[in-house]
Symmetry: C2
Subunit: 268 residues, 2 copies
């Protein structure tokens, strides 16, 4: 559910991109379970003075994303609201035995992420990203993925989601976190965190939300078979599952390990 003023501002994000994003988030969720999306229903809440071109553009974005990822828009609802609300519900399908949950990480698993992280909101990528559907499909066909999640609230927050759901301790090597150019660019403008001098880019990539990349865990043996690239998307090994017990740790070169407190985007 995307809400004006929380997930987007009407003046700063074109309606077409709001529509695209509303559906793409859902496609990303299905992809992260190893599935393929099939059908979607769209609920729109609109203030009475919303212009028709705005609604047309919103729907153009929705339809464009639907075509691109093979989704049929089969119904929905349109009501009056005080702010623009776009809610999408999606149905997907998954081949028997290929369904991937957040809860399947095992001790010894290797942790990977697709793409490069951070700066999504500032660069505008958050509203025109390509869900990693084909990449996820290629991965689940090639190796047995134990657990997977799409990065919506930030790597730090989504590591916690997997840790909690699986009951495992995840350890991430700070030096391995792939940082996007957009995140590096933001940092050149301002340096928010002098205490971690040298690691700002990685911290930014850890904390920034809306990357919609995949974080996944595979068995230590299968980790060798995970390709460095899927289609044109880089796949980076960032850490491993070190033990049982809910905890997320950051490992720095030299052996220092610190505990990451639960964080990420907070809705409330």
């Amino acid at each position: 559910m995307l809400i004006e003023g929380v997930h987007f501002h009407r003046r700063s994000v074109p309606a077409r991109q709001i529509g695209w994003k509303a559906l793409a988030c859902n496609v990303s969720d299905v992809a992260a379970m190893g599935g393929r999306p099939l059908w979607a229903v769209i609920s729109l809440g609109l203030p009475p003075r919303t212009s028709v071109p705005f609604v047309d553009a919103l729907y153009a974005g929705l339809r464009r994303c639907a075509r691109r990822f093979g989704v049929a828009i089969v119904g929905g609802d349109t009501v009056r609201a005080k702010q623009v609300v776009v809610d999408v519900a999606i149905i997907g399908t998954v081949e028997p035995g290929h369904v991937v949950l957040r809860s399947g990480a095992q001790p010894g698993d290797a942790l990977f992420v697709t793409g490069r992280l951070g700066g999504s909101y500032r660069s505008g990528r958050h509203a025109r990203f390509l869900p990693r559907l084909a990449e996820a499909q290629a991965l689940v066909r090639r190796v047995r993925v134990h657990a997977m999640i799409d990065l919506s609230d930030g790597l730090a927050s989504d590591l916690w989601q997997v840790s909690r759901a699986s009951g495992m301790t995840l350890r991430v090597d700070m030096a391995r976190i792939p940082v996007s150019n957009a995140a590096r660019k933001c940092l050149r403008r301002r340096c928010p965190c002098r205490a971690w001098h040298g690691w700002q880019a990685q911290f930014h990539a850890l904390m920034d939300g809306e990357d919609f990349e995949l974080l996944f865990a595979v068995g230590a043996g299968a980790a060798m078979r995970v390709p460095r690239r899927v289609r044109s998307c880089p796949v980076t090994r960032i850490g491993r599952v070190v033990a049982r017990g809910i905890r997320v740790e950051l490992a720095f070169p030299g052996g220092r390990v610190t505990r990451l407190t639960p964080q990420g985007f907070r809705h409330f």
Copy 2:
């Protein structure tokens, strides 16, 4: 999609009933297609200062409705919003050959409604109504229903929906519209329409929304097999499909027929 300030006011409707209504509307939609609901996903938008007891009560209402009508709540989303938003998407199933659309009305069909109409909002019934699921199932098993719709925006508006979708002229006998006691009670308090003296109750029942009763069309031959009651719910023959062409007419005793202009609850 139910929106605070449009579909309900937090102070006048208990949270439990908001939850019940959000799911019950969807069950009613599935029922009106001759189907049975199976799974639902719930998206909640909540202002940051929403109390936990409010959310608990909302969910208690959702769960209660789910249990009552055999729906499994299988997922959803929770986000920050400026007003309470509850959006439910539902999946149902229908036996082959039993699916009923709004578009299937035929010339000569008889028109029926379940229950008694009007006064739903004032009496509070709009937030605790029982969707006519068992009644719809019993009807589609007994007779071939050509077209069906649940009355959400008012009988007048929903007659227009069927007329438009089917391309047919529907004629309703004013004297046959079943008027609820709640509607009669509202009218005793004030008389909004002196010009139609004698027909206020029927007009109220025509125009008032959120009855969530069923309006359906069956062939003239099958009309004899429609029972007067399904379970404890009255079923009333209110008119017929008189010709092709999109139009809704009201017939008064003595033979006078007037055309009904398109109306009902307007979102925009």
